[in-house]
Amino acid sequence: MRLCDLCGKREAALTVRQLDKEGKATELAICAECARKRGFTSVEDLKQNAHEILAELKAKIGEKDKEVVCPSCKMSFADFKKLGRLGCAECYRTFAEQLRPLVRRLHSSVQHVGKSPQQGRKRAQERLEVERLRAELEQAIRDEDYERAASLRDRLKRAGAGE
């Protein structure tokens, strides 16, 4: 199933292919909802105005690349593409989404297995504990079991303070 290039959420209802002067084709997939929002009611409408949508799309992609900068070392993804090296650990959190396809290509995987630092493991366990308590708390509230909810809230506070 191809997703709409504009919203990236809904299934595309149709694809438009535009040929430029050199004969290079650009293909665009769009869903019914996004087409309606932009005032296109017929396929003909869309075909005639495909360049508008393409421009919107290009701007969107450009913005994304330019905008995101690692909050810690100020590296952009464009910098990384040029240098081939990340700037700091925070870069991996900032660019996780863009890096995943590259990491998969390099290693045929995006999930580390093997050794982990003991401290890292401890932190991971703490995080898991917090998540687990939070889920239980929500359930308790849904169940209107307020006594249990209060006790869970206290445990959550303690676990959170230990982070």
Binding site: S72, G87, C88, L106, G114, S116, P117
Partner: protein, 347 residues
């Protein structure tokens, strides 16, 4: 200079498993300290901070008296080549302009580069095909350091490294092989293609971009993420064993069918080394490699493998100069090298 210029460390001077084909095994772990930019993006003062932090951590774990810490001046050209030739540091490390440090254990089996491409590159070498020793040494130091330092790590990507090619385990392992019979029988390409097919990389013995001299090859893992350390080692172990097996069969074939030709090649090589008055590092490397083959095949009995293996390192330009205690021009070096080899080989 420190270390012992006349003798290369335990990983080369001792004998190890499968020593007839495998020269040595290396395990290298890439690690970074959280909250400090990677070396390529450090701000002024960061490099110093990392160096001091790591020196402190070495002190805390009682490692400082187990070897020597070298810094800046000794680690740049031309002196730094000494460590590259001994496989204790990478060429990129010596070329880098950052504040940097190199720890080398007294037996030269463990070395740690500080501020190479990553904050830490922990490396261990062992003689022959021996991951138990090499991985054991690297891993032990890594675990001790990790108690003192907070490593950059993510549950998803593992140990975070400047280059995404080292993510995950951060572990790059290599086996250094001497494969003259596979080269002579023209089987080498087939064998190396097989290694590529299972995701391994083959290079010359001095790493990236270096040519394969003296039929010496380095085979390493490519993938570092998505496989555990044990799995990575197992793959390289299995492939190495197969290659060792092929090489031995090729040697048997040669000794059976072309014995005189092989003996001729070996004794001519020894003859040139014993008689030459001027010799380049490259020529000496090729001839010594052939002599090494002669020793393991039992054609030459008066020399032993580790003597010859060590010569392969000692005759290289920087090591030769440190050993002789003089700075020499290329012309002078070739002459002194020939004299040095003659002294070692004429008994």
């Amino acid at each position: 200079m420190g270390l012992v210029p006349e003798k290369v460390g335990a990983w080369l001077s001792q004998s190890g498993p499968e020593n007839d084909v495998v020269i040595s095994t290396r395990v290298r772990l890439a690690r970074n300290i959280e909250d400090v930019p990677f070396p390529g993006r450090m701000k002024p003062g960061d490099a110093e901070l990392v160096l001091e932090t790591i020196r402190w951590a070495f002190g805390e774990i009682g490692y400082l008296n187990k070897g020597q810490f070298f810094e800046d001046g000794m680690l740049t050209e031309p002196d730094g080549q000494y460590f590259v030739e001994r496989h204790l540091a990478s060429p990129d490390f010596i070329a880098s302009k950052n504040r940097k440090g190199l720890f080398v254990s007294s037996d030269e089996r463990v070395s740690v580069m500080v501020n190479e491409e990553d904050h830490l590159r922990v490396q261990a070498l062992a003689a022959g095909l021996d991951f138990t020793t090499a991985f054991g040494l690297a891993s032990e130091l890594d675990e001790q350091l990790e108690k003192q330092l907070t490593y950059a790590y993510s549950e998803e990507f593992g140990f975070l490294t400047a280059c995404p090619t080292n993510l995950g385990t951060g572990m790059r392992i290599s086996v250094f092989l001497h494969l003259p019979a596979l080269v002579l029988t023209r089987e080498i390409d087939k064998v190396l293609r097989g290694a590529y097919a299972v995701g391994l990389v083959v290079r010359g013995i001095y790493g990236e971009g270096s040519e394969t001299k003296g039929n010496l090859f380095q085979i390493s893992n490519q993938r570092t993420l998505g496989q555990s350390e044990a799995e990575i080692i197992e793959v390289l172990m299995n492939v190495s064993r197969q290659i060792i097996d092929y090489e031995r069969k090729a040697r048997e074939y040669l000794m059976h069918n072309l014995r005189v030709e092989i003996e001729d090649k070996v004794f001519r090589s020894l003859g040139i080394l014993r008689g030459a008055r001027i010799i380049s590092s490259e020529e000496a490397t090729n001839l010594l490699a052939t002599v090494r083959l002669g020793v393991v095949l039992g054609i030459i009995n008066e020399l032993n493998v580790s003597e010859v293996s060590q010569l392969l390192v000692l005759i290289r330009p920087a090591n030769l100069q440190v050993l002789l205690g003089e700075k020499l021009s290329a012309v002078e070096r070739d002459e002194r090298r020939a004299t040095f080899i003659r002294q070692k080989l004429v008994k």
